[in-house]
């Protein structure tokens, strides 16, 4: 095999690295077969390589044929992406930080409240627990009070976290379906 052909195939192979190994080898083998076929049919190697085009270009076509096929719809694709960012994307700027803050802030608070309940039960007197102005929770009820309040706050944290996950999944799905390659 001439070094020119070998160079061509090597460059092609190099630029197909992103493909799965099997597909890459198959593609290179097919192009090699094509060149040999051409030479057997009396074409010159130079002309054959020229017709195949720049190996980098060919590799790019292999990788992106999927997208290229839809290039005449690129204006529409762009609009779809803009639509996605203006609606779901914009809403996310508000929804995601709020849910995340609640989920983790409330979760942390719930733990603190439980700890406070335990500490106060065992006589840490500087921890104040009030039911209303001037009515303090009796020391022996500290744990019950902490469990109720902490449980409520913990529940809020739990559901925020749950909905945050659902929302993020929804977001990823929407994003994926807005991508041109998947439509």
């Amino acid at each position: 095999m001439s070094s020119k052909r070998q160079n061509y195939l090597n460059t092609l192979s190099d630029h197909l690295r992103k493909l799965p190994e099997e597909e890459r080898l198959d593609a290179v083998r097919e192009i090699e077969s094509h060149i040999e076929e051409g030479i057997r049919n009396g074409q010159s190697e130079v002309v054959l390589l020229e017709k195949l085009g720049d190996p980098r270009q060919l590799a790019r076509a292999f990788r992106s044929e999927h997208m290229a096929h839809r290039s005449n719809r690129s204006a529409f694709d762009l609009l779809a992406m803009v639509g996605f960012y203006c609606t779901t994307g914009l809403a996310s700027i508000i929804v995601v930080p709020i849910l995340a803050t609640i989920a983790y802030g409330f979760g942390f608070s719930a733990i603190l409240i439980f700890l406070a309940g335990i500490l106060r039960t065992f006589g840490v007197s500087w921890i104040q627990m009030d039911l209303g102005p001037g009515y303090s929770v009796p020391t022996e009820w500290s744990m019950v009070y902490a469990l109720i309040i902490g449980g409520m706050i913990g529940a809020i944290a739990y559901y925020s976290r749950k909905y945050l996950r659902i929302y993020l999944k929804f977001l990823s799905d929407r994003y994926r379906s807005a991508l041109p390659a998947n439509r």
């Binding site: 077969s33 094509h34 076929e37 085009g53 292999f62 999927h66």
Partner: protein, 115 residues
């Protein structure tokens, strides 16, 4: 729009149709397809376009491929239609007839209006 760009856009879908048609008759390999399409000058395809296009049709499961030794040359990668490909080809054939008919109608329609 430059004529070149217009042609390349129109050709893209038609070439896919023609390649499926050629493969539907019998399994064919890449070099053979390039040579065959060369016979119809408006449909001549460059190798750099054909192989990626075949790969996409493979990915979409319209065609399948297998390697076969040849007596007179290197091993060849043959392509044939899958069942999905046959259905797809039938659908495109109908679609193509409808399109050609519609364009035809529009051409005659405009002529009638002018006179």
């Amino acid at each position: 729009m430059a004529i070149y760009e217009w042609t390349s856009q129109v050709r893209r879908g038609i070439l896919e149709y023609c390649i499926l048609l050629l493969i539907s008759k019998q399994p064919r390999y890449g070099y053979e397809l390039v040579t065959l399409l060369d016979k119809w000058e408006p449909l001549a395809i460059t190798e750099g376009t054909l192989y990626p296009l075949l790969r996409r049709l493979l990915k979409e499961n319209y065609i399948e491929s297998y390697w076969q030794e040849s007596e007179s040359g290197p091993p060849r990668k043959y392509y044939s239609l899958t069942v999905a490909g046959q259905l797809f080809l039938e659908t495109i054939s109908v679609e193509w007839k409808n399109l050609a008919q519609a364009v035809d109608d529009i051409q005659t329609y405009r002529e009638e209006e002018r006179t």
